[in-house]
């Protein structure tokens, strides 16, 4: 297989290095002596998949701390896919070059709603039946995890099981259980696996609907199947496994650097934010742990940059101490520190300068909305002054480019809010002209708001494509030198919206879209809306039901059975406060806001930074 690939196949495709494996720090475990063989399948190309931290963690935790084995597979780019189909080469894993059908478990990472077409394509390329109901005892168990799995229902036709929540402790447990139930018939096997914390087996539930199309009930078929599925959670992130020896890709991947996860969770409470709700509570790592992890990763990879990742890195209580420590220890060797998207309010000139001492990066800020009123609605507790102060400090210290993230189509949005974005950009540009050495570049990226399950906005209607287009043309009338506006494709956001709050009835539509040719839908060069439109017609699906409808608070939602720890009552209260424009403060600094996660999961907010806080 390997010889054939290297000789006949790879010389004929673009970027063949995606498919060769054999990178530094790869772990090739002995096949026969490994207990459960699993492949981690990422439904996008290699350079995207290899940038994903969750995959790095799972790869290390299974291969380094258990007797199971975890290999990797990625979606082949269309030129490679074509060749694989022509030459009869099944989708294979990069460690052993074995086809996916040789594995007992195939686990897909669900990071993005529309990556589902790539999953179907990968299953097909592997020769695994697409539909769960068509699989037999000889087929691998098809698993999915990741943030999108918090509403697993739209994908329930295709997966045998889902893992909801943090994976580093749950996956080893699941694989142990897979080994124990190995000889049982598939149905009994699934019944046993459904009892593992964080595991959801869709085929073990019966779903019924009301005449208006809304969900009437979702009932387990057997008494031992849990009515609600609790997410898996790592209580002590500081002690949790983190890879010191990540694979070093030959290819330049999207995030080509050492990555530290400084904390998990965020309690800022932005009302649109899915991750901020489902990954509660905040769990930090200690500065000492992070310094040790940075040292190990840099020694084992030779990376020239280390990035501090989390949902809101500037909120990490030890961020000052950590950044200064990293720069002091590694800066003289030309190793830079990267801070991804920064919070506007927590930004300190001091810290910016620490980072800039070695390597300058584009400053990225996310005000999300253009007026104070709307920022209060979404609970993005940032003021205009804080933003301007941050930008001024940045330009004074030598930054020449600022990237700003906004959303359009937010609940209660009016023309004034769109004008607010433009005014804000103008002001930022003005500050740049005053304080920077050269003309500055302002880039604003406008996403279309998609209401997500498990958030306070889960009941809100989403703007139609037409309405979003109107808003986009309203904003693009405006042109100014040095300010670049870019907009997400509203049709893509529309599809994301259908799936994000969808139910089991979407399976047929998704399947049809893939049949019609949809693949790599997250890549604008391959996205074809027609495939999806046709699929909606073919499957008789009414997209408005999922996207434009105002849901009532009493409605049983398809994802209600997933227990993220945050109560529906809390989400409802947050929704009502949003409509009144009343903010909710961060529970780390103010009183408990009563979201419910700490008591129900018997966990606590875990802050480790001590006095060296950013605040």
């Amino acid at each position: 297989m390997k010889d054939r690939l290297f000789r006949d196949i790879l010389p004929r495709v673009s970027k063949p290095i995606r498919y060769t494996g054999n990178e530094l720090n790869i772990i090739k475990k002995d096949w026969d002596s490994s207990r459960v063989k699993m492949v981690f399948a990422f439904p996008d190309v290699y350079e995207v998949g290899m940038s994903h931290i969750g995959g790095r963690i799972l790869y290390g935790v299974i291969n380094e701390t258990t007797d199971h084995l975890l290999e990797r597979s990625f979606a082949p780019w269309p030129d490679m896919e074509k060749l694989m189909r022509e030459e009869g080469i099944p989708l294979y894993a990069l460690e052993s070059y074995r086809p996916l059908t040789d594995f007992e478990v195939v686990g897909f990472s669900l990071q993005y709603e529309l990556s589902v077409t790539n999953i179907l394509n990968m299953l097909d390329l592997a020769g695994i039946p697409i539909f769960s109901r068509e699989r037999t005892d000889d087929d691998p168990l098809i698993l999915a995890g990741g943030p999108v799995a918090f509403n697993p229902e739209p994908f329930s036709d295709f997966f045998d099981l889902f893992m909801i929540g943090d994976g580093e402790e749950a996956l080893p447990e699941l694989l142990d259980e897979v080994e124990r139930v190995r000889d049982l018939p598939r149905q009994e096997k699934l019944l046993r696996l459904a009892r593992v914390e964080g595991i959801y087996v869709p085929s073990l539930y019966e779903v019924s609907y009301n005449s208006d199309g809304t969900l009437a009930a979702m009932e387990p078929l057997y008494p031992e199947v849990p009515r609600r599925v609790r997410k898996a959670i790592v209580a002590d992130l500081d002690k949790a496994f983190y890879p010191d020896n990540p694979i070093l890709p030959y290819m330049t991947v999207v995030h080509d650097r050492a990555v530290l996860e400084v904390m998990r969770g965020c309690q800022r409470g932005c009302r649109f934010c899915h991750a901020g709700m489902v990954y509660r509570p905040v769990r930090e790592k200690s500065v000492a742990t992070l310094q040790r992890q940075a040292r190990a990763q840099l020694e084992n990879t030779g990376y020239e940059e280390v990035s501090l990742a989390s949902l809101s890195t500037l909120d990490y209580t030890g961020v000052n101490q950590l950044v200064k420590g990293l720069v002091a220890e590694h800066g003289s060797k030309g190793v830079g520190v990267a801070l991804p998207s920064l919070r506007v309010d927590a930004f300190s000139i001091d810290l910016a300068n620490e980072v800039q001492k070695v390597r300058k990066t584009t400053l990225t800020l996310a005000p999300e909305a253009g007026t104070q009123r709307l920022r209060d609605v979404i609970n993005k507790n940032v003021t205009q002054e804080q933003l301007y102060d941050a930008v001024e400090a940045a330009f004074k210290s030598g930054w020449l480019a600022v990237k700003l993230y906004f959303m359009i189509g937010l609940p209660t949005e009016t023309e004034e809010d769109l004008d607010g974005i433009l005014q804000l950009l103008e002001e930022v540009k003005g500050i740049g002209n005053r304080y920077a050495r050269r003309p500055v570049e302002i880039r604003a990226s406008m996403a279309c708001f998609v209401p997500k399950a498990h958030t306070p906005f889960q009941w809100q209607p989403q703007d139609s494509i037409e309405k979003l287009q109107e808003k986009i043309s309203y904003m693009t009338r405006y042109r100014r030198r040095g300010i670049k506006l870019s907009f997400h494709d509203s049709r893509v956001s529309y599809l994301e919206g259908i799936i994000a709050r969808g139910d089991r009835r979407l399976g047929q539509m998704i399947y049809q879209a893939w049949k019609n040719g949809a693949v790599f839908d997250g890549w604008s060069e391959y996205f074809r809306f027609e495939h999806w439109q046709k699929a909606m017609e073919e499957s008789g699906l009414d997209p408005q039901f999922y996207v434009s409808r105002v849901r009532s608070f009493d409605e049983l939602l398809p994802w209600d059975f997933v227990d993220s720890g945050v109560t529906k009552d809390y989400l409802r209260k947050e929704n009502e406060k949003a409509m009144e424009g009343v903010p909710t403060l961060d529970c780390r600094r103010e009183d408990c806001t009563g979201c419910g996660v700490c008591p129900s999961f018997e966990v606590e907010i875990d802050l480790r930074g001590g006095d060296e806080s950013a605040h």
Binding site: P16, T252, N300, T301, G302, V335
Partner: protein, 224 residues
């Protein structure tokens, strides 16, 4: 201290681009804690220059890079340290110190040797060699910047040699690179096809080495 290293990129790394090979070396230099010199400025980078660009798809017996060190270092030790951390397939063969005045690889290297492993009758290959050497002109559609324009390869082919190997007959071309005439390996592939070599008969292509050609003589970049 300025040094020049000779290294091998094995068949398992043949799909790396030049940039990827450079990153691989930079990261190996860091892992091995080689005392490299850094450039000044906001974006300090290792003073490393990959003088020879190995085309994607080819492996290379003798490739070269120049590196600036911060201070002195025993070069045997440097090779050992790097070889300990380099991935399978990449190997430093030797290194030597450069005088400050030594021209860069980019400027000096003007010849490369490409080996084609052919599964064909030796006799047929001998005929092809003769035909190529006999020809006054060898017109091939250019693969480089002037796409589509015919390019005469003849003046850029300095020497041809054949050798029997385990995998087949190795047909080696010594050709001009850079100025004045740059011959690409894929243009040689086209030439072979033009001369009647079927595609499937070419089972492997590699670069044997890079040379400095002075007055018809070939020297290793380590010699000059």
């Amino acid at each position: 201290m300025r040094i020049r290293a000779e290294y091998r990129i094995g068949p398992e790394l043949r799909f790396l681009s030049n940039l990827e090979t450079m990153h691989m070396m930079e990261r190996a230099l860091r892992r091995a804690r080689i005392p490299f010199a850094l450039s000044e400025g906001f974006n300090p980078h290792i003073r490393l220059s990959m003088g020879t660009v190995l085309p994607v798809g080819l492996w290379g017996e003798k490739e070269y890079f120049d590196l600036e060190l911060d201070g002195k270092m025993d070069l045997e030790e440097l090779c050992q340290d790097l070889n300990r951390v380099l991935p399978e397939g990449a190997h430093i063969i030797q290194a030597r110190e450069l005088a400050v005045t030594t021209p860069s690889l980019m400027k000096a290297v003007n010849c490369a040797a490409y080996g084609f492993i052919l599964q064909m009758m030796q006799q047929d290959i001998a005929t092809i060699c003769q035909n190529i050497l006999k020809a006054d002109e060898l017109l091939i559609p250019s693969r480089g910047k002037k796409k589509g324009v015919d390019k005469d390869l003849r003046k850029g082919i300095y020497k041809i040699d054949t050798q029997l190997t385990e995998a087949g007959v190795c047909l080696m071309f010594w050709v001009g690179t850079g100025e004045p005439l740059n011959i690409r390996y894929d243009e040689l592939t086209d030439l072979l096809q033009q001369q009647g070599v079927p595609t499937q008969a070419i089972v492997d292509v590699f670069r044997e080495g890079n040379y400095i050609r002075i007055n018809g003589g070939l020297y290793s970049p380590l010699e000059r």
